[in-house]
Symmetry: C2
Subunit: 322 residues, 2 copies
């Protein structure tokens, strides 16, 4: 079975990890005489948001890609939710002393990723190729594919004007009301190689990522929304809203300021034309009826993944939906 | 008194440090009512070799400039002779794990310098402006000026072919016989702003740096050799060869393979048309006559600087020669 996950940062990374664990553990559909090669085409593709990407100190930063790759590599900092475990910050301290603006925390080991990515992008490699190489270097087997190799930047309209995503999210700690979102470059951005093919999977999952900040910029890439709307496989979305609150980040506030109901039902309405099944948390079981009324199948379960066992359990349930 | 030092790496940096100490301690020539502002035009300009500059991991590395700046800032690793004191190497370890070739050691704090330099060069700032800014950020008052803002790369002809400077020096630990040197770009390279003015100083000192690897690429920049040959001030060279040996590095071997006498006299012959005074070590006092026969004044002293007191002592003797 081929599975594709559309993902933003932490929520997407955790579900990617769960799917990777579940697919590795799953018995092969067709018995083979030889064990599959370690570089055999993996069953899991993760298409990752690049609207958060930014440049800092001249380095190309792809926060969502790195969160997914680090998590799949088992190198991520689980407690903090971003970056690498056991990081040090000597370079950042020196950058600060040189007068650089260091509001965005970059660890020493994390910087190696950005340095390598930047060097390879500058020599002309597309982000998709650079990402595949970096993921392989870290021992990650699933395909990690950026939504696009072209420029796409999420800009956030706030009461004090339009600002870049990282200024909104990290710099101002997503405290501003989000009045609108603009995906700069989306009209011209083409899907990265492999993205449209990946949507032809047996199961396509929209991760419990922020619908506006993580999934929308991904769907805004030319042809992606249409390909998902007409995809042949089972299409499943997992609600990032549980009991009227976001598991992490500003999804609840943004739903509200953009005029949506702050609930799994509000999320289901956004995805209604794109998916077949909505997965909602058991705390929201009362919303199963209204979600079904949208014409969606509903799967009610514990959607809060926590650590690897919870991730794998949720992933197995998703695989069973296909 | 205005002093200009032409410098390569460690030897140049130590003498720059001595001159900075000596000039700061020297009584002002003209008494002033107000103490001079900390950003007053400094009496010392160091024109630094850029033939060793290279790009690693997409970052612009200027080893000689950094050695001079770090030493003047008091941040250098005195024991090792290069880099910063108390460095860590987390980024380099991570670069290695990502499959990067890490034969050139880069510390975490040192990397901040390269990251900032690279970002500013890429936005179009010339190396001279970037260097001035970096030096100021580290509290360095003397003017640090690269020989040129243009491309100039020292290439080394060895029995196994022509190789880049850092491959020769660091990668192969200067073990190859040097059959010749080529300064790529020198014909077109223009002196950086301030270089020719600096040669109009009251005292111009050729540091005890490698004559071929540090001083020659500097003189190869268009107009520099001519400006030095006709400079109005006192021009003094300090021999890097003491008792027939180099204090540091491959100067002795290179003198030999290029057909020069491996002595302070051999160095004096190379510089005879460019300087007025040759400073040789007291261990080479027997060479004072032959050096004088070249038409040069000779100053015999202890030229091995060691720590700050030795640097300042030698610098004071040089100032007295002006």
């Amino acid at each position: 079975m081929n599975v594709t996950l559309l993902a933003g940062g932490v929520g997407g990374a955790r579900l990617a990890h769960g799917l990777d664990l579940a697919l590795r553990a799953a018995p092969a559909e067709t018995p083979t005489t030889a064990p599959s090669a370690p570089d055999a085409s993996p069953a899991l593709t993760v298409v990752v948001n690049v609207g958060d990407d930014t440049e800092l100190h001249g380095l190309a930063i792809s926060p969502d890609i790195d969160t997914v790759v680090y998590t799949l590599a088992g190198l991520n900092d689980e407690d903090r939710g971003w970056g690498l475990r056991g990081e040090s910050y000597a370079t950042l301290a020196a950058l600060r002393e040189l007068g650089e603006d260091t509001w965005f925390t970059l660890g020493d080991r994390d910087l190696a990723t950005h340095i390598v990515r930047t060097a390879r992008l500058r020599r002309g490699d597309p982000l998709s190729a650079v990402t595949a190489q970096l993921a392989r270097s870290m021992g990650v087997l699933p395909h990690i594919v950026p939504a696009t190799d072209d420029h796409l930047a999420t800009l956030v309209d706030t009461p004090s004007g339009r600002i870049g995503f990282q200024e909104y999210f990290v710099g101002r700690q997503h405290a501003d009301a989000v009045l609108g979102l603009h995906f700069e470059g989306a009209d011209a951005a083409r899907p990265a190689p492999g993205v449209l093919d990946a949507l032809d999977a047996d199961l396509v999952v929209l991760a419990p990522s922020n619908p506006f900040l993580s999934i929308e910029p991904l769907l805004a890439v030319r042809g992606v929304r249409e390909a998902l709307a007409t995809a042949r496989g089972r299409r499943v979305a997992v609600s990032p809203i549980v009991g009227g609150q976001a598991i992490k980040g500003p999804a609840a506030q943004i739903l509200e300021t953009l005029g949506h109901e702050v609930s799994a039902l509000g999320v289901a309405r956004i995805y209604a034309d794109l998916v077949d099944v909505m997965v909602i948390d058991e705390r929201d079981a009362n919303l199963a009826g209204p979600v079904a009324d949208l014409g969606l199948a509903v799967h009610v379960t514990d959607t809060v993944m926590g650590g690897p066992p919870g991730r794998e359990r949720l992933a197995r349930e998703l695989l069973a939906l296909a």
